[in-house]
Every structure is written in structure tokens, then in C-alpha cells.
Symmetry: C2
Subunit: 312 residues, 2 copies
């Protein structure tokens, strides 16, 4: 008898849904709009209804479903509740309790970034490892830590908030979080653009970046074409990230660091750049820690949510 | 029927031994010399013989003993083996297997710093918490991380090697580990002396430290008497440590940070100093993380070793 599990990833715009077999085979993958109006009160009913509709459509019985894993953008406690999830309009929400009531299925909830890390460990860039740091380089810098196969949630739900390590003591501009010098101020897509803008303003030096809209992508493209200004930006980015990851490794000591998010589309060149500084700064025992690109893209969340439920 | 557990802490000079009841009550506490000659081959037989002698002395039967927990100065793998423990003269040693063979008791082995963290969580400064960072400020800076009540061993046995985060990018002298700028270069007892020596050489400024042998203790004493030079040293120490702990918290997000080792004898003034910078630099959700002094001193290891066995 086949057994199934649902993996749900709730974002501010869409709800990504996946139906998996227990070994991780995707049966179906679909999306819903996220209705954030009225304090996000429709999100869990919409999700529940969609799960039940999918089961009816495919003739799947309740006893053949292990349960539902769900990732949300907020700090989820061990009991499946969240105090607040701003992007969804939520105040206190008993995610596991509510969704379980709608579906009559067991539900396990986690933070979306942590859940994505679990997904990459299960079926992505971290396969074969039990200890992993995932870093997501997007508009901000997110992360997830897995120790002994388990998500590090932390005492305040801030486990894996690695974008907010205060790495750069010279930074004078404030991060969104209020501190100055957080990792994400230099190593997010936004941070890379800020570094490039700073270099462009500081001199009249010729650069390919003067003829283009500056983005993390255009910076890496200019770097690939030998642009000296872009090279300085990319090296600064890589040094800051490599140093931070080396520091993080002497806490969690993972077997692999998985790098995802929009900036990671720069590909293996990115890994090589970061590795140079990581190896320079890492504790001797950790220097051979693997650095890998994420492989699941936006689907990491549904994979990880499914795995969260399977591990429960 | 009372049940017992042994907690053993093997150091380079002495083997500390404890016999505990399951609730952590100490029945007896004693020490042996560590015989490191002949590649440390007598250490585990000596330990085993002492355990059996204690059981005979007190009339404790084998079936009343849960087992033996043991901490050693080296990276211990999950299977109870260590590849090398330099201070004991050991190459590869199957600690758990050997000691179990000598005693016919179940044995669980761990790294001494990690085990001490577990001890402080069980019966010391971290009581009531399940997520903890312990930092030991001695000749070097050691540490242990507990997540969900479990020691973070790490993929290379380097979990909790928090003295070797490269925090200070301006440091030009090499750490014992080979990198420049490790946390322990500034925040160990040795590091504090180095900072003070630097300040004393840099000027002729009057200071109480000029009339005394400089030690971490004398620096904190001079600070307590309002000495300006000592104040700069202490603030530099506290800022570096507070910043590092804030960074570490966005990985592990503990409920409490326990501070032990010789330097912690400075007392609550130390906690207040570190907290000032920790709160400045910590991620918003982590700012209320508790900072506590360690309470068990040198006995943390035997408590933690006993707990390691009880949790197995």
C-alpha cells in the first residue's frame, strides 16, 4: 500500500503545495493564491480545502496519508503555533491545530527557511548529510540549521537567522532588523547592489556596470567579463560570507553548507569564490566542509515540509 | 531501588570521578592520577578498576548501575571512539568499547567541553533550559552547544569550538590553531594579558597594572578600582566576546549562555559587561537571552558525563 504525505509552503503571494510518496517522489505539485486579507484568516481553510480536494480527486483515503507538513514565514514553536507572521497578516495562530481540524490529518509546522534547509538535505544539495547549514541569498539572507537530522528552532525561534550575525563592525547604515553590520547588509542581492553603487560613486573608474541597471546578476556578469570594479565588489561579498560561514561552522560544525536563493544562480563560480575565504578562516577541523549549490529552488519548502511531517 | 550512574572526566593530569544517583545527587566524588605514559594505555583500565572498586566498597550491584558517562579532551564521535587525544597520549581509541569491556557496564563517551556544557544545563547555571551555549574562558576559550537537550557534536567533532571563530579581522598574530583573529586570542585569560601588555607598552599612562604581575585576575581587580587602562582592556574583551556570542546566537539561538572558566571568577561584573555588548549586537529576537555564570566549576565534567549516560 502506497503512503502519501503533503508538503505545504505558505508564502506572502502563493501557497505552494506538493503531494509526495514517502520516498520523496512527487505525485503532484500545485499552487494557490495567498489571501492575506482579514488578517490572513482564509489561508489555512484554503489550504485545508485544497488538500481535501486533491485527495478526493486522486481517490486517496485518509488512512493512506501520513500527514501534512507546512512551512510558514515566521518563528514557529515546537507546538506548531506562531506568535506572529507579518507577511501573512497573522497574529497568534495555532497552525498545526487549525489545519489539523480542517483536514482531520496530523499536521507538523515549521519556519519556512528551516523547512527549506530540511528539503535540501532530503532531496537537494545536502543529500547524504545529517548536519547542514543552508544559506539563502535573496533580497535578504535567510538560513536554516540542521543538527543530527533535526531543525534547530532555537529558544526564540531564531535558530538559523544567520543573515543577522553582526559581522561587519564598520557598517554605519542600519539593517532592517535595527542593528548595523548584519551579514545580509553585504551578502544579499540588495547588499551586493549597495556595494556596487558605493564603488561606482567613489570614482570615475570605467566599469561595465556604468552602462547597465546594477543588480546582483549584472555584477556577477561584469565580474565574469573581467571588470575590475565588479571584481572588488564580488571579492568583498565573498570574503564577508566566507568569514561568516567559517564562524558559524565553529558553532554547528555541519558536513555541508548549501547555498541557495537568487544570488546562487551565479553558479559554481560563487562556490569557488566563497570557498577561498571560508577555507582561510575556518577552524582546522572544519576546513574540508563541503560547499554546495542548492538544487531544489522554490520547491525546497514543499520537500522540507513533507520531510518534517515524515520525521515527526 | 536506588539506581546509580558514574560520571568520569579524564584530564591530562587527573581523572575526576563521580558516583551519582539518577536525580543528580552526588554519592561520592574522587580523583585518580592520569597515567599518560605508554600512549595513555593505562587510563581506561585504571578508570575501570576504580569504578569496580567503588562498587565493591559500597556494595553496589551491576544491575543497579545505569552505566558510565565519560568526557575526554578530544573530538569524540557518536560511536564512542576518538581518533586522537593528544593530551592523553592517545591515538585511535574505542573509549566506550574498552571501558565497557573492563567494567561490563554500558558506557557513553563525549568531548569534555561539550559534556561540561551538559553538566551546567543539568545542575549548574543552565538549569531549566534545553538550549544552551557554554563558553569556558581559561587559558584558551572552549565551548559546548546544547540544542534540544542534546550535545552538538558536529560533522568533524568541532561543534562548540567557539574559541576559534575568526572574529577579529585586524589581528596579525596567529592563534595556536593557525588562523589569525580567533575569539580566544582576545577573550581567554592569555588574551586579556596580551591586551593589557599591549596597552602598557603603548604609553607611559599610570596604571595599577604597572605595579603587579599582569593576569586576567589583576586586570579585573584594577578595573574594579577604576583604573583607566584596565577599563580599556576589559571593555575590549567584553565587546569582542559580546559580539561573538551575539553572532553565535543567530545560529543556535539558546535560551541561556553559561560563562565559566578561570576568567569567570570575576563574577557578576563580568556578566554585566558582556551583556552590554551582547544586547547591542544580538538579533532582536535573541536580545533577552540569559547570561549566567557557571556554577559547577571543575565538577561540571563529571555531572555532564553522568547526564550523558542517563540520556543515552
Amino acid at each position: 500500500m502506497r503512503r502519501y504525505v503533503f508538503g505545504i509552503d505558505i508564502g506572502g503571494t502563493t501557497i505552494k503545495c506538493g503531494l509526495f510518496e514517502e520516498d520523496g517522489l512527487v505525485v503532484e505539485q500545485w499552487e494557490l493564491d495567498t489571501r492575506t486579507d482579514d488578517g490572513g484568516r482564509y489561508i489555512l481553510p484554503d489550504t485545508g480545502a485544497s488538500i481535501l480536494a486533491k485527495m478526493a480527486e486522486l481517490g486517496i483515503k485518509r488512512e493512506d496519508v501520513v500527514g501534512v507538513g507546512i512551512g510558514v514565514p515566521g518563528p514557529v514553536k515546537a507546538d506548531g503555533t506562531v506568535a506572529m507572521a507579518v507577511n501573512l497578516g497573522w497574529g497568534f495562530t495555532d497552525i498545526a491545530g487549525e489545519l489539523s481540524a480542517y483536514t482531520n490529518l496530523e499536521v507538523k509546522a515549521g519556519n519556512d527557511a528551516n523547512v527549506a534547509a530540511l528539503g535540501e538535505m532530503w532531496k537537494g544539495g545536502g543529500q547524504g548529510y545529517t548536519d547542514l547549514i543552508m544559506v539563502t541569498l535573496g533580497t535578504g539572507v535567510g538560513g536554516g540549521i540542521i543538527v543530527n537530522g533535526q531543525i534547530v528552532t532555537g529558544a526564540h525561534g531564531a535558530g538559523g537567522e544567520i543573515g543577522h550575525g553582526r559581522i561587519d563592525m564598520d557598517e554605519r547604515e542600519a539593517c532592517n532588523c535595527g542593528t548595523c553590520g548584519c551579514l545580509e547588509q553585504t551578502t544579499s542581492a540588495t547588499g551586493i547592489v549597495k556595494l556596487a553603487d558605493g564603488e561606482l560613486v567613489a570614482s570615475d573608474e570605467a566599469s561595465l556596470l556604468r552602462d547597465t541597471k546594477v543588480s546582483a546578476k549584472s555584477v556577477f556578469e561584469a565580474y565574469g567579463q573581467g571588470d575590475a570594479l565588479a571584481k572588488r565588489v564580488v571579492e568583498r561579498f565573498a570574503e564577508t560570507l566566507g568569514n561568516a560561514l567559517a564562524i558559524y561552522c565553529c558553532v554547528a560544525d555541519p558536513g555541508v553548507i548549501v547555498i541557495g536563493g537568487g544570488v546562487s544562480k551565479a553558479g559554481t563560480v560563487l562556490i569557488d569564490l566563497i570557498k577561498k575565504y571560508f577555507v582561510r578562516d575556518a577552524f582546522s577541523a572544519c576546513k574540508d566542509t563541503k560547499l554546495e549549490l542548492a538544487q531544489l529552488g522554490n520547491a525546497a519548502g514543499i520537500y522540507g515540509a513533507a520531510k518534517l511531517m515524515l520525521d515527526a
